[in-house]
Symmetry: C2
DNA sequence: CTGTTAGCGCCTTCAT
DNA sequence: ATGAAGGCGCTAACAG
């Protein structure tokens, strides 16, 4: 059984390969009758073009890559959901790579990607990344890049983010208004743009309330969950005056909850907690956890849309195309998927 | 600036393209000195092979596809985590496709994949899929397929599953031993293998306890979360004798919880609930939710390992290579990622 | 050990 | 409206 390719179709129809190719692309310079004949046989034999050949020839892969820290996280899951949606609508394929917050892996992956495998890239940088030579090299090599959530400012391209400064400010104010006077702040990494923005919001709210900024109340939780939980427990034990916690990511909010369990602290009676979270259900299951939810699905859609549009138009992406979406305070539900 | 390809390297080194190619593949029939010269220049120019050309020529793409219902779900997220891990270790790329439990999409995706874009496929079928002609056609066309969790028996290949019958039995027994006499069962779809197995375990436990199987206590929740929650609330309202619920998937367990809230029922005082869940944190955040956790990460690793091994050896996958892993009852944590 | 040659399947001038 | 021919970048068989 011969493989079903253009050659085979051409032979069976007594046409040239070129004509068959054109017919399948619905070229205007092929007669309607011929088109019909070609299409009929293609359907009958279930012809599928070899996309690798096409990619090689046209230097376009119809594939985008998604590079994120992890997928086991509602924010990124929902974002992928949005990305995949847009990709499929435009007949693009989605390759996925996980950095696990590890700089080395991120570098390895970007190298892996230099070489035309993808037409574009959607990326949220790892918390350990401080240096961006690998991204610059990649960007120079070809693919368009759009950052979402965790941004890299060193590249001349668009970002899709949320109003992190404002959210940090509002979250902190929420605690202050509830009567807190010693608010701790938990963040993943001071390297990350989102961490910095949220922290600035936190500082602004404190300042506005006439409270001092105490950097010993700021904790950076970069390890695994158990480690972070222990760190938080230590902090709470050492500083009993802490009456509020603003967790800048979901996992730290949960670790805070667990730390409170071990210390027999009740939320929100003993300690008020507010945290970023896209795990809508967790908030529902435990109303004591106050949350800020990012529109993750929309972020994914938005980022993918900008990327694909730029690819199709073969135009570089400009920073001016960046988009800032709004997070939702105290949401009742996680973002729906469609 | 010329593109950096084999031709370019060959010219600059006064070698033939073939020799350069061989040198980069560390072929034994190239002198060490030449290899070194080639490697040095390749590194200097940051040469990256064009993988599409290579794929075209060798008819191997070093890419696998993952087709799953959704990613915004801890089970699948963790599975992807495991899959990506194994793939990267073996220098494979991972394409991802979401069916959203929709049969039509599943068919469209499989057609999309017929044509050599992937060497293999990892798949968990959509709940709406009852007919598997699309999968058989795909399988016949080329790529190796391994099913995980939601299996398709119609294909002659391996599955990676968990001990669903046993888990269903144990979950139901857990409720019976806690004194329940009217245990409802919630499942996604009677079409799915996992649904059937878990239900059989449920029935076996009832039978063993001398209780009748009442199919009006079995609810199939195929809609969205709000819809399911309403269905469950209706059931609980109409049948106040229900004192236990066995939810066969996480989302239904959560919907049960929400339904109880609207009815002012307390778990576990008024109603005992046990559910499959990979959302370890949710269970931690609400200890009233008793859970069964599948080793999702290991399932992903296992499935990917079987698939890649078969691809590398160019051997068909046999049903005898199937693996059954064990779910964990009442776990303290979700499966770690590494 | 190295080079020459012939494609993989597809697209795209250029010619008719 | 159709065909012939060349080449995308790489690999593999065959020479030497």
């Amino acid at each position: 059984m011969n493989p079903v390719n253009l050659k085979r179709l051409a032979q069976e129809l007594n046409l040239s390969i070129a004509t068959v190719s054109r017919a399948l692309q619905d070229s205007y310079e092929v007669s309607p009758q011929t088109k019909e004949r070609v299409r009929a046989l293609a359907a009958e034999l279930d012809y599928r073009p070899n996309e690798y050949a096409s990619s090689l020839r046209r230097n376009i892969s119809k594939t985008i890559g998604v590079v994120i820290p992890e997928v086991n996280n509602h924010f990124f899951s929902l974002a992928i959901n949005g990305i995949e949606e847009v990709a499929r609508q435009n007949d693009y394929h989605v390759l996925i790579y996980l950095t696990h917050e590890d700089f080395e892996r991120e570098v390895a992956i970007t190298q892996y990607l230099t070489g035309g495998r993808v037409d574009g890239l959607l990326m949220s940088v790892a918390s350990g990344s401080q240096e961006f030579g690998h991204l610059q090299k990649l960007h120079a090599s070809k693919p368009a890049i759009v950052f979402f959530d965790r941004v890299c400012d060193a590249l001349q391209t668009a970002h899709v983010t949320t109003n992190d400064y404002e959210s940090g400010y509002q979250a902190t104010r929420h605690l202050l208004e509830a009567g807190c006077r010693h608010v701790a702040h938990l963040l993943v990494s001071g390297n990350l743009s989102i961490g910095r923005m949220r922290m600035q919001g936190y500082q602004a709210a404190l300042q506005e309330a006439g409270l001092p900024f105490d950097d010993t109340l700021v904790l950076s939780g970069e390890g695994d969950d158990d480690h972070n939980t222990a760190l938080i427990a230590n902090l709470l034990r050492a500083r009993p005056e802490i009456d509020g916690v603003f967790a800048s990511v979901e996992r730290l909010a949960i670790s805070t909850y667990l730390a409170c369990q071990t210390l027999n602290l009740t939320i929100p009676a003993d300690l008020k907690v507010i945290g970023f979270s896209n795990l809508g259900v967790a908030a529902l299951l435990n109303p004591a956890l106050t949350t800020i939810t990012q529109p993750a699905y929309e972020i994914g859609r938005e980022a993918a849309t900008i990327l694909l549009r730029a690819i199709e138009k073969k135009r570089p992406i400009l920073p001016t195309q960046s988009v800032v979406l709004k997070s939702e305070l105290f949401p009742r539900r996680s973002t729906a998927r469609e």
